[in-house]
Symmetry: none
Subunit: 207 residues, 2 copies
DNA sequence: GCTAGTGGAGAACAAATAGAGAACCGTTCG
DNA sequence: CGAACGGTTCTCTATTTGTTCTCCACTAGC
């Protein structure tokens, strides 16, 4: 049975805790870690994980949330490859993506990506510096043709230019906000804007 | 049989004592170690551990609480995943690092860390927002007690506060620059500033 | 518009767990 | 002997924890 996004997140958290040797958390503790305020909400998710056979049933006992003993978590002989995503090129505000001739691979931890197909771009320029994305940063993009308002998207404008901007879709128009107060928000007709992906993660290296 | 949290805690304590070569404790001693005031309460827990086959039955003898011989406590089958670093806590400008009670591990791609020992902190607050480091970001810190000018360091000020700031060391004084034009650079005597690590990587998750 | 699916808040409940304190019993030792 | 010590058993109470419920917000799809 497929897990929902939240269920997967909770499962990942439990696995990380177990790997770190931490004791089984109570629902309240897990709520704190996940930023939830309601035990009831979390309980629903835990129930789903129990039903999926991934978490030991609690049966009302105060023993915390424990993962079922993994028979052998063997589908990971080369766990490193799991985390490799293609680095497709560099993206600069207002210019098409400059593709890299030979597709490179770059390691991305699973918590910086989503479950769907993702790829990585490198930032050129400072158009997003006020969103904490600087020249040279790597951004992880989830391949997707739609977005929720407020997300930062890779958008293709009139089939020409590609930019990374925060999106606001209203009826009849699309606004793209550069996070740079020196630049103006741009307004387009929905047909002019093609969403090519949504920003889900970001990495920077200091040297 | 699954243990309750308290039972697990007592068992861990017993194991640690045994590893340290200490003699078997009496119930009263254990009470002291665990912050209990009632032998009776502790006795219940010990009984549960006896029932679980983890502690030798006492049978009224004054021999103290002894663990049963462990069949084979596997030492550390941990493959020590190359990409996992400890997440030690959160750091907010001007506050001591708020350590996480239970150590978590977080995946860090090798290109975001250095060859030396590293650890991860989570950012609280916006004191570094102009350096592209936002509230909630993870930063990878290389454990080091010295820095080059211009690097961003984890600095302990007068043994009290911990901050993440860009450092400039001159003869006779140390300047710490918050990347936030609303805040002032602080000047210290070299003896007041203890470098605890240097920023080498940064990660952010969007959702 | 409507509806299903997901995710969260919060209240209320019952059971499991945890602890205090006291009394009881056997052993050891002055 | 009788005190001191250490393990046992008991009652009583408080807190924690898992559970269930209702209500609400948002999204996706029709």
């Amino acid at each position: 049975m497929a897990l929902t996004r939240r269920q997967q997140e909770i499962l990942d958290r439990l696995r990380r805790r177990e790997d770190a040797g931490a004791p089984a958390p109570t629902l309240d503790e897990l709520c704190g870690l996940l930023g939830l305020r309601s035990r009831g909400s979390l309980h629903k998710h835990i129930q789903a994980l129990v039903a999926a056979g991934l978490v030991e049933p609690l049966h009302g006992q105060h023993r915390g949330v424990r993962l079922v003993a993994q028979p052998a978590r063997e589908p990971a002989p080369e766990p490193a490859h799991e985390d490799l995503l293609p680095l497709l090129g560099t993206i600069a505000a207002g210019r098409p993506i400059e593709a890299i001739a030979e597709p490179e691979q770059i390691a991305v931890p699973s918590h910086l990506r989503s479950d769907r197909p993702c790829y990585v771009l490198q930032i050129a320029g400072d158009s997003l510096c006020e969103a904490g994305i600087l020249d040279g940063d790597y951004v992880v993009i989830e391949q997707r043709d739609h977005a929720r308002n407020g997300e930062i998207v890779v958008a293709l404008i009139r089939g020409e230019d590609v930019t990374l901007k925060r999106i606001l879709q209203e009826s009849g128009r699309v606004l793209l906000y550069p996070e740079n107060s020196a630049m103006q928000a741009m307004e387009y007709h929905p047909d002019e804007v093609l969403i090519q992906g949504v920003l889900v993660g970001q990495m920077r290296r200091y040297r």
